[in-house]
Protein backbone atom coordinates (compact mmCIF):
# COMPACT_ATOMS: atom_id res chain seq x y z
CA UNK A 1 0.00 0.00 0.00
CA UNK A 2 2.74 2.43 1.02
CA UNK A 3 6.52 2.46 1.06
CA UNK A 4 8.96 4.68 2.86
CA UNK A 5 11.09 7.26 1.10
CA UNK A 6 13.23 7.86 4.20
CA UNK A 7 15.08 5.88 6.89
CA UNK A 8 13.74 4.37 10.12
CA UNK A 9 15.48 4.80 13.48
CA UNK A 10 13.70 2.54 15.97
CA UNK A 11 11.33 -0.39 16.33
CA UNK A 12 7.85 -0.71 17.76
CA UNK A 13 5.97 -3.86 18.80
CA UNK A 14 2.70 -4.62 17.01
CA UNK A 15 1.03 -7.66 18.59
CA UNK A 16 4.49 -8.49 19.91
CA UNK A 17 6.06 -8.34 16.43
CA UNK A 18 8.93 -5.88 15.95
CA UNK A 19 8.33 -3.37 13.14
CA UNK A 20 10.70 -0.65 11.91
CA UNK A 21 9.56 2.91 12.63
CA UNK A 22 10.74 6.46 12.99
CA UNK A 23 10.39 8.21 16.33
CA UNK A 24 7.86 11.03 16.23
CA UNK A 25 5.98 9.90 13.13
CA UNK A 26 2.30 8.96 13.56
CA UNK A 27 1.85 5.37 14.75
CA UNK A 28 -0.58 4.88 11.84
CA UNK A 29 2.16 5.78 9.34
CA UNK A 30 4.60 3.32 10.91
CA UNK A 31 2.04 0.50 10.73
CA UNK A 32 1.03 1.25 7.14
CA UNK A 33 4.67 1.44 6.04
CA UNK A 34 5.23 -1.98 7.63
CA UNK A 35 2.35 -3.47 5.65
CA UNK A 36 -0.30 -3.51 8.41
CA UNK A 37 -3.55 -2.61 6.65
CA UNK A 38 -6.26 -3.59 9.17
CA UNK A 39 -5.94 -1.81 12.53
CA UNK A 40 -9.18 -2.95 14.12
CA UNK A 41 -12.38 -4.95 13.73
CA UNK A 42 -15.63 -3.01 14.00
CA UNK A 43 -17.96 -3.58 16.97
CA UNK A 44 -20.97 -3.76 14.62
CA UNK A 45 -20.05 -6.44 12.05
CA UNK A 46 -16.49 -7.39 12.94
CA UNK A 47 -15.29 -6.07 9.57
CA UNK A 48 -11.60 -5.18 9.28
CA UNK A 49 -10.79 -1.45 9.14
CA UNK A 50 -7.72 0.62 8.51
CA UNK A 51 -7.01 4.33 8.76
CA UNK A 52 -9.15 6.54 6.56
CA UNK A 53 -8.60 10.25 7.32
CA UNK A 54 -5.21 10.36 9.13
CA UNK A 55 -6.23 13.60 10.86
CA UNK A 56 -8.17 12.56 13.92
CA UNK A 57 -11.67 12.82 12.47
CA UNK A 58 -12.80 9.34 11.39
CA UNK A 59 -11.76 7.16 14.37
CA UNK A 60 -11.22 4.24 11.99
CA UNK A 61 -7.61 3.77 13.14
CA UNK A 62 -8.50 2.95 16.76
CA UNK A 63 -5.89 0.68 18.36
CA UNK A 64 -4.59 -0.27 21.78
CA UNK A 65 -1.40 1.51 22.79
CA UNK A 66 0.46 0.39 25.93
CA UNK A 67 -2.70 -1.40 27.05
CA UNK A 68 -4.96 1.66 26.60
CA UNK A 69 -7.77 1.04 24.08
CA UNK A 70 -9.47 3.57 21.79
CA UNK A 71 -6.30 5.43 20.84
CA UNK A 72 -6.30 7.10 17.43
CA UNK A 73 -3.18 5.71 15.75
CA UNK A 74 -2.97 8.77 13.51
CA UNK A 75 -2.58 11.09 16.52
CA UNK A 76 -0.19 8.95 18.60
CA UNK A 77 3.48 9.75 17.88
CA UNK A 78 5.83 6.78 17.76
CA UNK A 79 8.23 6.33 20.65
CA UNK A 80 10.96 3.68 20.47
CA UNK A 81 9.72 0.32 21.79
CA UNK A 82 6.07 1.40 21.82
CA UNK A 83 3.70 -1.56 22.25
CA UNK A 84 0.46 -1.54 20.30
CA UNK A 85 -2.13 -3.94 18.96
CA UNK A 86 -5.42 -4.03 17.09
CA UNK A 87 -8.72 -3.15 18.71
CA UNK A 88 -11.16 -6.01 18.15
CA UNK A 89 -14.80 -5.05 18.56
CA UNK A 90 -15.89 -2.56 21.21
CA UNK A 91 -13.20 -1.08 23.43
CA UNK A 92 -12.95 -2.27 27.00
CA UNK A 93 -13.05 0.09 29.95
CA UNK A 94 -9.73 1.92 30.03
Amino acid sequence: MFRRSGPTDCTILWEGRALPARAGEPLAAALLAAGVVAFRETPVSGAPRGPFCLMGACFDCLVEVEGVPNRQACLVPVTPGMRAGPQRGARGAP
Binding site: P26, P48, G50, C53, C58, F59
Partner: protein, 453 residues
Protein backbone atom coordinates in the same frame (compact mmCIF):
# COMPACT_ATOMS: atom_id res chain seq x y z
CA UNK B 1 -9.14 28.34 37.39
CA UNK B 2 -6.56 29.62 34.98
CA UNK B 3 -7.57 32.79 33.10
CA UNK B 4 -6.19 33.52 29.61
CA UNK B 5 -6.82 36.68 27.58
CA UNK B 6 -6.96 34.95 24.19
CA UNK B 7 -7.28 31.20 23.85
CA UNK B 8 -6.82 29.90 20.30
CA UNK B 9 -7.76 26.42 19.19
CA UNK B 10 -5.82 25.10 16.20
CA UNK B 11 -2.26 25.65 15.01
CA UNK B 12 -3.01 25.79 11.30
CA UNK B 13 -2.53 28.96 9.24
CA UNK B 14 -5.46 30.78 10.90
CA UNK B 15 -4.45 29.97 14.47
CA UNK B 16 -0.74 30.66 13.96
CA UNK B 17 -1.34 33.99 12.18
CA UNK B 18 -3.86 34.98 14.85
CA UNK B 19 -1.40 34.21 17.64
CA UNK B 20 1.34 36.27 15.97
CA UNK B 21 -1.01 39.23 15.43
CA UNK B 22 -2.41 39.04 18.96
CA UNK B 23 1.08 38.96 20.49
CA UNK B 24 2.01 42.02 18.41
CA UNK B 25 -0.94 43.78 20.09
CA UNK B 26 0.34 42.73 23.51
CA UNK B 27 -2.22 40.03 24.27
CA UNK B 28 -1.49 36.96 26.35
CA UNK B 29 -2.10 33.94 24.09
CA UNK B 30 -2.58 30.25 24.82
CA UNK B 31 -2.85 28.04 21.73
CA UNK B 32 -4.01 24.41 21.80
CA UNK B 33 -3.71 21.79 19.05
CA UNK B 34 -4.26 18.06 19.17
CA UNK B 35 -1.41 17.47 16.72
CA UNK B 36 2.18 17.27 17.91
CA UNK B 37 3.54 20.31 16.13
CA UNK B 38 2.41 23.52 14.44
CA UNK B 39 1.16 23.87 10.87
CA UNK B 40 -2.26 22.22 10.84
CA UNK B 41 -2.96 19.89 7.94
CA UNK B 42 -1.71 22.16 5.15
CA UNK B 43 1.65 23.01 6.75
CA UNK B 44 2.05 19.71 8.58
CA UNK B 45 5.67 18.80 9.31
CA UNK B 46 6.93 21.71 7.18
CA UNK B 47 10.61 22.20 7.84
CA UNK B 48 10.78 18.70 9.32
CA UNK B 49 9.81 15.55 7.45
CA UNK B 50 8.01 17.66 4.82
CA UNK B 51 10.52 19.79 2.94
CA UNK B 52 9.64 19.81 -0.76
CA UNK B 53 12.44 20.56 -3.21
CA UNK B 54 12.48 24.10 -4.59
CA UNK B 55 10.12 24.40 -7.56
CA UNK B 56 8.41 21.05 -6.87
CA UNK B 57 4.61 20.88 -6.41
CA UNK B 58 3.60 22.38 -3.08
CA UNK B 59 7.00 24.02 -2.47
CA UNK B 60 5.67 27.61 -2.57
CA UNK B 61 3.01 26.82 -0.01
CA UNK B 62 5.48 24.99 2.22
CA UNK B 63 7.78 28.01 2.19
CA UNK B 64 4.91 30.24 3.30
CA UNK B 65 4.12 27.71 6.01
CA UNK B 66 7.69 27.67 7.26
CA UNK B 67 7.73 31.48 7.52
CA UNK B 68 4.50 31.38 9.51
CA UNK B 69 5.75 28.66 11.86
CA UNK B 70 9.05 30.47 12.48
CA UNK B 71 7.23 33.73 13.22
CA UNK B 72 4.90 31.86 15.57
CA UNK B 73 7.78 30.25 17.46
CA UNK B 74 9.28 33.70 17.99
CA UNK B 75 6.05 35.48 18.99
CA UNK B 76 5.87 34.51 22.64
CA UNK B 77 2.54 32.67 22.58
CA UNK B 78 2.22 29.63 24.82
CA UNK B 79 1.60 26.60 22.63
CA UNK B 80 0.35 23.26 23.91
CA UNK B 81 0.47 20.40 21.41
CA UNK B 82 -1.10 16.99 21.82
CA UNK B 83 -3.88 18.96 23.53
CA UNK B 84 -7.39 17.89 22.46
CA UNK B 85 -10.13 20.33 23.37
CA UNK B 86 -13.41 18.60 24.21
CA UNK B 87 -15.62 21.13 25.97
CA UNK B 88 -16.51 24.82 25.82
CA UNK B 89 -18.63 25.95 28.74
CA UNK B 90 -21.10 28.80 29.16
CA UNK B 91 -18.46 31.13 30.69
CA UNK B 92 -15.95 30.46 27.88
CA UNK B 93 -13.91 28.11 29.98
CA UNK B 94 -12.60 25.27 27.89
CA UNK B 95 -11.50 21.78 28.83
CA UNK B 96 -8.89 19.79 26.99
CA UNK B 97 -6.96 16.56 27.48
CA UNK B 98 -3.23 16.40 27.30
CA UNK B 99 -1.12 13.33 28.08
CA UNK B 100 -4.06 11.56 29.73
CA UNK B 101 -4.88 14.50 32.02
CA UNK B 102 -7.73 17.00 31.57
CA UNK B 103 -7.01 20.71 32.02
CA UNK B 104 -9.21 23.77 32.09
CA UNK B 105 -8.79 27.49 31.41
CA UNK B 106 -11.20 30.40 31.05
CA UNK B 107 -10.76 32.54 27.94
CA UNK B 108 -11.42 36.27 27.75
CA UNK B 109 -11.88 35.71 24.04
CA UNK B 110 -12.02 32.26 22.47
CA UNK B 111 -10.85 32.00 18.85
CA UNK B 112 -11.62 28.68 17.21
CA UNK B 113 -9.58 27.72 14.14
CA UNK B 114 -10.63 24.09 13.67
CA UNK B 115 -9.79 23.92 9.94
CA UNK B 116 -11.26 21.60 7.36
CA UNK B 117 -11.83 17.90 6.95
CA UNK B 118 -12.08 15.99 3.69
CA UNK B 119 -15.64 15.80 2.45
CA UNK B 120 -16.54 12.10 2.41
CA UNK B 121 -17.03 10.43 -0.96
CA UNK B 122 -19.15 7.40 -0.08
CA UNK B 123 -18.85 4.59 -2.65
CA UNK B 124 -19.57 0.87 -2.32
CA UNK B 125 -16.65 -0.75 -0.49
CA UNK B 126 -15.08 2.46 0.84
CA UNK B 127 -14.73 0.98 4.32
CA UNK B 128 -12.24 -1.67 3.12
CA UNK B 129 -8.67 -1.33 4.39
CA UNK B 130 -6.77 0.14 1.45
CA UNK B 131 -9.33 2.85 0.73
CA UNK B 132 -8.65 6.26 2.24
CA UNK B 133 -8.71 9.95 1.53
CA UNK B 134 -6.28 11.71 -0.79
CA UNK B 135 -5.68 14.15 2.06
CA UNK B 136 -4.92 11.20 4.33
CA UNK B 137 -2.27 9.95 1.91
CA UNK B 138 -0.82 13.44 1.69
CA UNK B 139 -0.61 13.53 5.49
CA UNK B 140 1.40 10.28 5.34
CA UNK B 141 3.67 11.87 2.76
CA UNK B 142 4.23 14.96 4.89
CA UNK B 143 4.51 13.36 8.30
CA UNK B 144 6.42 10.20 7.40
CA UNK B 145 7.57 10.42 3.79
CA UNK B 146 5.30 7.55 2.68
CA UNK B 147 4.63 7.03 -1.03
CA UNK B 148 1.97 4.79 -2.60
CA UNK B 149 3.12 1.29 -3.47
CA UNK B 150 1.58 -1.16 -5.92
CA UNK B 151 -1.50 -0.30 -7.96
CA UNK B 152 -2.54 3.07 -6.51
CA UNK B 153 -5.64 4.77 -7.91
CA UNK B 154 -6.91 8.27 -7.20
CA UNK B 155 -10.58 9.06 -7.67
CA UNK B 156 -12.85 12.04 -7.26
CA UNK B 157 -12.25 15.70 -7.94
CA UNK B 158 -10.69 18.88 -6.65
CA UNK B 159 -7.31 20.65 -6.49
CA UNK B 160 -5.83 18.50 -3.71
CA UNK B 161 -6.18 15.36 -5.83
CA UNK B 162 -4.06 16.85 -8.61
CA UNK B 163 -1.53 18.36 -6.19
CA UNK B 164 -1.01 15.06 -4.37
CA UNK B 165 -0.65 13.14 -7.64
CA UNK B 166 1.97 15.64 -8.83
CA UNK B 167 3.81 15.42 -5.49
CA UNK B 168 3.94 11.62 -5.69
CA UNK B 169 5.40 11.72 -9.21
CA UNK B 170 7.94 14.38 -8.22
CA UNK B 171 9.23 12.00 -5.54
CA UNK B 172 9.52 9.04 -7.89
CA UNK B 173 6.25 7.41 -6.84
CA UNK B 174 3.79 5.81 -9.26
CA UNK B 175 0.06 6.13 -9.81
CA UNK B 176 -1.96 3.54 -11.75
CA UNK B 177 -4.57 6.06 -12.83
CA UNK B 178 -6.82 8.92 -11.93
CA UNK B 179 -10.59 8.55 -12.11
CA UNK B 180 -12.09 11.96 -12.68
CA UNK B 181 -15.56 11.89 -11.13
CA UNK B 182 -16.24 15.62 -11.54
CA UNK B 183 -19.72 16.31 -12.88
CA UNK B 184 -19.66 16.99 -16.66
CA UNK B 185 -19.82 20.59 -17.83
CA UNK B 186 -17.48 21.97 -15.17
CA UNK B 187 -15.71 24.49 -17.37
CA UNK B 188 -19.02 25.71 -18.79
CA UNK B 189 -20.45 26.12 -15.27
CA UNK B 190 -17.31 27.83 -14.04
CA UNK B 191 -16.70 30.10 -17.06
CA UNK B 192 -18.64 33.06 -15.70
CA UNK B 193 -16.46 33.04 -12.57
CA UNK B 194 -13.25 32.95 -14.60
CA UNK B 195 -12.63 36.73 -14.75
CA UNK B 196 -12.71 36.94 -10.95
CA UNK B 197 -10.47 33.88 -10.68
CA UNK B 198 -7.95 35.44 -13.05
CA UNK B 199 -7.40 38.27 -10.58
CA UNK B 200 -5.43 35.68 -8.61
CA UNK B 201 -4.00 33.64 -11.51
CA UNK B 202 -1.44 31.82 -9.38
CA UNK B 203 -4.04 29.31 -8.23
CA UNK B 204 -5.10 28.36 -11.74
CA UNK B 205 -1.59 28.23 -13.16
CA UNK B 206 -0.40 25.96 -10.37
CA UNK B 207 -3.34 23.62 -10.94
CA UNK B 208 -2.72 23.47 -14.69
CA UNK B 209 0.95 22.80 -13.97
CA UNK B 210 0.08 19.77 -11.80
CA UNK B 211 -2.20 18.40 -14.52
CA UNK B 212 0.49 18.89 -17.17
CA UNK B 213 3.01 17.00 -15.02
CA UNK B 214 0.63 14.03 -14.86
CA UNK B 215 0.05 14.08 -18.61
CA UNK B 216 3.78 14.16 -19.28
CA UNK B 217 4.27 11.16 -16.98
CA UNK B 218 1.62 9.24 -18.93
CA UNK B 219 -0.69 8.71 -15.94
CA UNK B 220 -4.09 7.67 -17.37
CA UNK B 221 -6.84 10.14 -16.51
CA UNK B 222 -10.21 8.47 -17.01
CA UNK B 223 -13.57 10.17 -16.76
CA UNK B 224 -15.93 7.94 -14.80
CA UNK B 225 -19.42 8.26 -13.34
CA UNK B 226 -19.70 5.36 -10.91
CA UNK B 227 -17.00 3.71 -8.81
CA UNK B 228 -16.90 0.81 -6.38
CA UNK B 229 -14.17 -0.79 -4.28
CA UNK B 230 -14.03 -4.57 -3.92
CA UNK B 231 -12.17 -6.97 -1.66
CA UNK B 232 -12.51 -9.23 1.37
CA UNK B 233 -10.06 -8.43 4.15
CA UNK B 234 -8.69 -5.54 2.12
CA UNK B 235 -9.07 -3.73 -1.19
CA UNK B 236 -8.19 -5.88 -4.20
CA UNK B 237 -10.09 -4.32 -7.14
CA UNK B 238 -11.91 -1.24 -8.25
CA UNK B 239 -14.85 -1.24 -10.66
CA UNK B 240 -15.77 1.85 -12.66
CA UNK B 241 -18.18 2.23 -15.55
CA UNK B 242 -18.09 -1.51 -16.27
CA UNK B 243 -14.27 -1.84 -16.04
CA UNK B 244 -12.57 -3.91 -13.32
CA UNK B 245 -8.95 -3.21 -12.38
CA UNK B 246 -6.58 -4.59 -9.75
CA UNK B 247 -5.97 -2.11 -6.93
CA UNK B 248 -3.76 -2.04 -3.81
CA UNK B 249 -4.72 1.49 -2.77
CA UNK B 250 -7.67 3.70 -3.63
CA UNK B 251 -7.55 7.34 -2.59
CA UNK B 252 -10.82 9.27 -2.67
CA UNK B 253 -11.35 13.02 -2.70
CA UNK B 254 -14.34 15.32 -3.09
CA UNK B 255 -12.92 18.56 -1.77
CA UNK B 256 -12.79 19.69 1.83
CA UNK B 257 -15.46 21.03 4.17
CA UNK B 258 -15.39 23.13 7.37
CA UNK B 259 -14.78 21.16 10.56
CA UNK B 260 -17.68 22.32 12.74
CA UNK B 261 -17.67 19.57 15.36
CA UNK B 262 -16.84 22.00 18.18
CA UNK B 263 -18.65 25.14 17.01
CA UNK B 264 -21.90 23.17 16.56
CA UNK B 265 -21.67 21.87 20.13
CA UNK B 266 -21.58 25.42 21.53
CA UNK B 267 -25.06 26.38 22.69
CA UNK B 268 -26.46 29.29 20.71
CA UNK B 269 -23.70 29.30 18.07
CA UNK B 270 -25.75 29.52 14.84
CA UNK B 271 -24.81 27.58 11.70
CA UNK B 272 -26.16 27.53 8.15
CA UNK B 273 -26.02 24.97 5.36
CA UNK B 274 -23.56 26.14 2.71
CA UNK B 275 -24.94 25.04 -0.65
CA UNK B 276 -21.68 25.50 -2.59
CA UNK B 277 -19.69 23.45 -0.09
CA UNK B 278 -22.49 21.00 0.84
CA UNK B 279 -21.76 21.36 4.53
CA UNK B 280 -22.62 23.40 7.60
CA UNK B 281 -20.67 26.50 8.53
CA UNK B 282 -20.96 28.89 11.46
CA UNK B 283 -22.77 32.20 10.90
CA UNK B 284 -20.08 34.89 11.18
CA UNK B 285 -19.58 38.58 10.57
CA UNK B 286 -16.47 39.82 8.68
CA UNK B 287 -14.48 39.84 11.95
CA UNK B 288 -15.24 36.17 12.59
CA UNK B 289 -17.70 36.87 15.41
CA UNK B 290 -20.16 34.03 16.04
CA UNK B 291 -23.62 34.55 17.50
CA UNK B 292 -22.05 33.93 20.92
CA UNK B 293 -20.26 36.90 22.56
CA UNK B 294 -16.51 36.47 22.91
CA UNK B 295 -16.33 33.46 20.61
CA UNK B 296 -14.73 33.94 17.18
CA UNK B 297 -14.01 31.54 14.31
CA UNK B 298 -11.32 31.97 11.63
CA UNK B 299 -9.90 29.89 8.79
CA UNK B 300 -11.38 27.01 6.83
CA UNK B 301 -13.56 26.07 9.81
CA UNK B 302 -15.55 29.20 8.90
CA UNK B 303 -15.91 28.22 5.21
CA UNK B 304 -13.30 26.96 2.77
CA UNK B 305 -10.92 29.68 1.58
CA UNK B 306 -7.49 28.04 1.59
CA UNK B 307 -4.35 28.63 3.65
CA UNK B 308 -3.63 32.25 2.73
CA UNK B 309 -7.21 33.43 3.31
CA UNK B 310 -7.18 31.47 6.57
CA UNK B 311 -4.07 33.27 7.81
CA UNK B 312 -5.62 36.64 6.94
CA UNK B 313 -8.85 35.69 8.70
CA UNK B 314 -6.82 34.71 11.74
CA UNK B 315 -5.14 38.13 11.85
CA UNK B 316 -8.46 39.94 11.36
CA UNK B 317 -10.07 37.95 14.18
CA UNK B 318 -7.05 38.63 16.41
CA UNK B 319 -7.48 42.38 15.88
CA UNK B 320 -11.13 42.08 16.86
CA UNK B 321 -10.10 40.06 19.92
CA UNK B 322 -7.66 42.84 20.83
CA UNK B 323 -10.51 45.33 20.58
CA UNK B 324 -12.77 43.21 22.77
CA UNK B 325 -10.00 42.87 25.34
CA UNK B 326 -9.33 46.59 25.37
CA UNK B 327 -5.90 46.50 23.68
CA UNK B 328 -7.16 48.38 20.60
CA UNK B 329 -9.83 50.99 20.05
CA UNK B 330 -12.37 50.39 17.32
CA UNK B 331 -10.60 52.99 15.15
CA UNK B 332 -7.22 51.32 15.65
CA UNK B 333 -8.69 47.92 14.82
CA UNK B 334 -10.29 49.26 11.64
CA UNK B 335 -7.10 50.95 10.49
CA UNK B 336 -5.02 47.82 11.03
CA UNK B 337 -7.61 45.49 9.50
CA UNK B 338 -8.34 47.52 6.36
CA UNK B 339 -5.50 46.19 4.20
CA UNK B 340 -6.04 42.67 5.55
CA UNK B 341 -9.71 42.69 4.57
CA UNK B 342 -8.76 43.75 1.04
CA UNK B 343 -6.10 41.06 0.76
CA UNK B 344 -8.54 38.44 2.02
CA UNK B 345 -11.12 39.46 -0.59
CA UNK B 346 -8.42 39.06 -3.27
CA UNK B 347 -7.47 35.61 -1.97
CA UNK B 348 -11.10 34.52 -2.02
CA UNK B 349 -11.69 35.72 -5.59
CA UNK B 350 -10.96 32.32 -7.24
CA UNK B 351 -13.27 30.42 -4.87
CA UNK B 352 -16.56 30.74 -6.82
CA UNK B 353 -14.69 29.44 -9.89
CA UNK B 354 -13.37 26.40 -8.00
CA UNK B 355 -16.76 25.79 -6.35
CA UNK B 356 -18.44 25.80 -9.78
CA UNK B 357 -15.75 23.61 -11.35
CA UNK B 358 -15.89 20.98 -8.58
CA UNK B 359 -19.39 21.04 -7.04
CA UNK B 360 -19.71 18.33 -4.35
CA UNK B 361 -20.91 15.06 -5.87
CA UNK B 362 -24.70 14.62 -5.61
CA UNK B 363 -25.90 12.61 -2.62
CA UNK B 364 -28.91 11.36 -4.57
CA UNK B 365 -26.62 9.17 -6.70
CA UNK B 366 -25.08 7.24 -3.80
CA UNK B 367 -26.22 3.60 -4.30
CA UNK B 368 -28.51 2.12 -1.62
CA UNK B 369 -26.00 -0.52 -0.57
CA UNK B 370 -23.27 2.02 0.18
CA UNK B 371 -22.33 2.60 3.82
CA UNK B 372 -22.84 6.26 4.79
CA UNK B 373 -22.13 6.09 8.53
CA UNK B 374 -18.84 4.20 8.71
CA UNK B 375 -18.87 3.83 12.51
CA UNK B 376 -22.33 2.27 12.83
CA UNK B 377 -22.25 0.72 9.33
CA UNK B 378 -25.50 2.31 8.18
CA UNK B 379 -26.18 2.23 4.43
CA UNK B 380 -27.71 4.95 2.26
CA UNK B 381 -30.61 2.59 1.53
CA UNK B 382 -31.45 2.27 5.25
CA UNK B 383 -31.23 6.05 5.64
CA UNK B 384 -33.64 6.46 2.72
CA UNK B 385 -36.01 3.80 4.15
CA UNK B 386 -36.03 5.52 7.57
CA UNK B 387 -36.71 8.83 5.85
CA UNK B 388 -39.65 7.24 4.04
CA UNK B 389 -40.92 6.03 7.43
CA UNK B 390 -40.92 9.61 8.67
CA UNK B 391 -37.47 10.48 10.04
CA UNK B 392 -37.26 14.24 9.47
CA UNK B 393 -33.54 14.86 9.70
CA UNK B 394 -30.16 13.61 10.97
CA UNK B 395 -31.02 14.15 14.65
CA UNK B 396 -34.19 12.08 14.53
CA UNK B 397 -32.41 9.48 12.40
CA UNK B 398 -30.18 8.67 15.36
CA UNK B 399 -33.16 7.08 17.11
CA UNK B 400 -33.89 4.98 14.03
CA UNK B 401 -30.44 3.81 12.98
CA UNK B 402 -27.70 5.17 15.30
CA UNK B 403 -26.17 6.94 12.27
CA UNK B 404 -23.77 9.57 13.58
CA UNK B 405 -23.56 7.98 17.06
CA UNK B 406 -20.32 6.01 16.73
CA UNK B 407 -16.84 7.09 17.80
CA UNK B 408 -16.55 9.78 15.11
CA UNK B 409 -19.84 11.36 16.27
CA UNK B 410 -20.95 12.22 12.74
CA UNK B 411 -17.76 14.04 11.72
CA UNK B 412 -17.56 11.94 8.56
CA UNK B 413 -21.18 11.04 7.77
CA UNK B 414 -23.02 14.13 9.07
CA UNK B 415 -23.18 16.21 5.88
CA UNK B 416 -23.71 13.12 3.67
CA UNK B 417 -26.59 11.88 5.84
CA UNK B 418 -28.15 15.34 5.75
CA UNK B 419 -27.85 15.55 1.96
CA UNK B 420 -29.18 12.01 1.38
CA UNK B 421 -32.18 12.60 3.66
CA UNK B 422 -32.90 15.95 2.01
CA UNK B 423 -32.74 14.39 -1.46
CA UNK B 424 -35.06 11.58 -0.31
CA UNK B 425 -37.53 14.15 1.02
CA UNK B 426 -37.18 16.36 -2.06
CA UNK B 427 -36.09 19.42 -0.06
CA UNK B 428 -32.79 21.35 0.01
CA UNK B 429 -30.34 20.09 2.69
CA UNK B 430 -30.52 23.48 4.43
CA UNK B 431 -34.19 22.80 5.20
CA UNK B 432 -33.13 20.01 7.59
CA UNK B 433 -31.64 20.66 11.01
CA UNK B 434 -27.99 19.62 10.90
CA UNK B 435 -26.63 16.97 13.22
CA UNK B 436 -26.25 18.48 16.69
CA UNK B 437 -22.96 17.73 18.35
CA UNK B 438 -22.35 17.62 22.09
CA UNK B 439 -19.48 17.92 24.48
CA UNK B 440 -17.37 15.95 25.08
CA UNK B 441 -16.64 16.05 21.36
CA UNK B 442 -14.07 13.26 21.65
CA UNK B 443 -13.94 10.12 23.80
CA UNK B 444 -12.72 10.92 27.29
CA UNK B 445 -11.50 8.39 29.84
CA UNK B 446 -12.81 8.21 33.38
CA UNK B 447 -9.27 9.02 34.47
CA UNK B 448 -9.31 12.26 32.46
CA UNK B 449 -12.66 13.24 33.95
CA UNK B 450 -11.42 12.42 37.44
CA UNK B 451 -8.33 14.57 36.93
CA UNK B 452 -10.61 17.64 36.74
CA UNK B 453 -11.89 17.12 40.28
Amino acid sequence: MREVALLILGAGPAGLAAAIEARARGLEVLLLDENHGPGGQVHRAVGGSYTPARGSPGADQAREGLRLIEAFRACGAEARFGASLWAVEEDRSVIWSEGGVARRARAGVLLLCPGAIERPLPIPGWTLPGVMGVGAAQTLLKSAGLLPEGRAWLAGQGPLLWLYAAQVLARGGRIAGILDLSPPGGWRRAARHLPAALTAPGYLLRGLGWMARLRRAGVPVIRARALAAEGGERLTHIVFDGRREAADLLLLHDGVAPNTQITRAIQGCAHVWDEAQASLRPVLDPWGRTSRPGILVAGDGAGIGGARAAALSGRIAALEAARQLGALTEEQRDALAGPLLLRRAAELAPRPFLDALFPPLPAARIPDGTILCRCEEVTAGRVRAATALGAQGPNQLKAYLRAGMGPCQGRVCGPAVQAVMAAARGVPPGALEGLRTRFPTRPVTVGELASLA
